[in-house]
């Protein structure tokens, strides 16, 4: 007994010290860094939140959403309309962008989640592309300004402000995924991922659980999309519905390990920085190199880095129930 207390204590002190140091670093960072670094950090936080919310539906429940960016883009446009047209404050606007995406997620999720695997992926991808065309079209032009794009103005959120909001959303997404992973809901989603029909026959209401997962996933996608719109200042369907956002998030999820808490976070940080580096040095090879990483991940680490390290007993299997 004494030994365990000692052992725990030996972990607790460095963990608290590390957490305090990290908090101080993250709070102080925007005040002494260049705009470029703050903006890069915002991208990292966006991707942490995006990959974590993708994790809920695709990592835990196993429904890989290839149309993920659709919900991000809906969030971006919602914020643009709320700020530009109705002069709503950025905070409720961001919240509402999450809500709008979530409602679309619930409505679309109901029929979409009846199909599985590659069919689900194709249907979700088609949905996102459909929304992109719709938002570029003349019918929606009075609201979306069509393919021309539109600037997102009428808010008082400075770059540092965006940094802290992005940090908050990223931390919130990690917290939500942590709660899911340590609760029965997360286990039910994992059960759905591996054996959906038996799970249903053992009393799990799989439809309800999948829709809740889709709703959580869409809410974060929408809120991040909203903040991204403010951050990048100018949005058009090509940029906020870019399939590259979906692919990056999926790559991060696969690399880090779906259904884990910290795998996707580590992968989001690593890949955002790698991507930035590649983008600035080898602009033409950028997508190709990311593609090669994806192929290697699928071939050699099909479960992702964290589950692989857990299997090798290098990392502990941390889920506790």
């Amino acid at each position: 007994m004494q030994l365990t207390i000692k052992k725990q204590a030996s972990y607790i002190v460095p963990s608290i010290a590390f957490a305090i140091a990290l908090a101080v670093f993250l709070i102080a960072l925007p005040y002494w860094s260049s705009h470029y670094v703050v903006s890069l950090m915002c991208s990292i936080f966006f991707y942490i939140a995006l990959v974590q919310s993708l994790n809920v539906l695709s990592g835990f429940a196993g429904y890989v959403n290839f149309g993920y960016v659709g919900w991000v883009g809906i969030g971006s446009y919602t914020v643009m309309v709320l700020l530009n047209r109705y002069g709503v404050h950025w905070l409720p606007a961001l919240f509402l962008s999450g809500i709008v995406s979530m409602i679309v997620g619930i409505v679309i999720g109901h029929p979409l989640l009846k199909i599985r695997g590659i069919y689900f992926a194709i249907a979700a991808f088609t949905f996102a592309e459909g929304i992109r065309f719709l938002f570029s079209s003349e019918i929606m032009a009075p609201i979306t300004h069509g393919g021309e794009g539109v600037t997102v103005t009428n808010h008082d959120l400075s770059l540092n402000g965006q940094y802290f909001v992005a940090l908050f959303i990223a931390l919130l997404s990690i917290f939500v995924v942590y709660k899911i992973s340590t609760g029965k809901f997360g286990l039910r989603l994992l059960a759905i991922k591996s054996e959906e029909l038996p799970a249903e026959c053992l009393g799990i209401n799989t439809t309800a659980d999948k829709i809740v997962a889709f709703a959580i996933s869409s809410f974060f996608a929408g809120a991040v999309g909203g903040l991204m719109a403010i951050h990048i200042f100018f949005i058009d369907p090509e940029s906020v519905f870019s399939v590259e956002i979906t692919l990056q998030a999926i790559l991060m999820l696969f690399l880090g390990g779906g259904g884990t808490v910290f795998g996707p976070v580590i992968a989001a940080i690593f890949l955002t920085l790698t991507s930035e580096l590649l983008w600035s040095k080898f602009i033409l090879l950028h997508a190709g190199i990311l593609g090669i990483i994806l192929v290697f991940v699928i071939l050699f680490l099909p479960e992702g880095i964290v589950p692989w390290l857990q299997d090798k007993k290098i990392l502990p299997y941390t889920r506790k129930l």
Binding site: L187, S194, L197, C201, L202, I204, P307
Partner: protein, 241 residues
């Protein structure tokens, strides 16, 4: 006292294209009974389990469980009412520990305590924090029964519980079924090809052939039934004996 019906299947018909997988099929399982369901391959046994558990919807007929019509309910609601099934392949959740496999769908009172008891009873307690892949196939089958038990069934349907097991493992599973049947008065519906298992485990047997209930009775009665012999060995079976 006459036996109380636990499950009544009334005139169930289900067709895939032009084929009637179940054709006006009826049978009753009484409370506390261990009922065997046999028949040649393709007779409709698993289809029947799928209809009872709500995985498939029948075109005609009714499934009555403890006096309540449960026809067409979704599988999770049927499971929550007390009908739980296992599959031919154990279908465990591979990236979850044994403990998590049990807790995720547990609906019994004192779930964790009961889970520990059952794991102990099946000799799997030492593996509780391991992934399911450490279990042998026989252990996986046994474990899938434990997982189903924790959903709190009053009718447990086992789809070929002894298939692919050696003699020792078969005995273990049969002992387990007997024990549960005696202690909890649990009703069982067992699909099995192994006649040894059916003979030792089941009180009543129902024979399916081309989706029809061709014979019902004790194992001894079924064994000498001409229709059953024909179903298994063809037309010449009766004359050759």
């Amino acid at each position: 006292m006459p036996p109380v019906p636990c499950l009544e299947v009334k005139n169930v018909t289900i067709s895939f294209g032009g084929l009637n997988a179940l054709d006006d099929f009826s049978f009753v399982a009484s409370e506390g009974e261990v009922k065997g369901l046999i028949g040649p391959n393709g007779a409709g046994k698993t289809t029947l389990l799928n209809v009872i558990s709500g995985v498939l919807k029948c075109n005609k007929g009714q499934v009555i469980f403890k006096g309540e019509d449960i026809t067409g309910l979704p599988p999770h609601r049927i499971a929550r009412k007390g009908i739980v099934r296992t599959f031919q392949i154990p279908k465990l959740y591979p990236r979850m520990t044994l403990w998590e496999n049990l807790i995720v769908t547990s609906r019994v009172e004192n779930g964790p305590k009961r889970a520990i008891e059952l794991l102990g009873l099946a000799g799997l307690f030492d593996f509780k924090n391991e992934f399911t892949r450490v279990l042998s196939y026989g252990q996986q089958k046994l474990f899938s029964i434990i997982r189903a038990l924790l959903v709190n069934p009053s009718l447990l349907m086992l789809d070929e519980p002894a298939a692919g097991l050696n003699a020792l493992e078969k005995n273990k599973i049969m002992d387990f079924i007997h024990q549960l049947n005696r202690q909890l008065n649990l009703t069982f519906l067992i699909i099995e090809h192994d006649m040894g298992v059916i003979e030792t485990a089941c009180e009543g047997v129902c024979v399916l052939h081309y989706g029809k209930n061709i014979a019902e009775g004790t194992f001894e009665e079924i064994r000498i039934e001409q229709k059953v012999k024909k179903a298994y060995f063809g037309e010449g079976a009766s004359s050759s004996e």
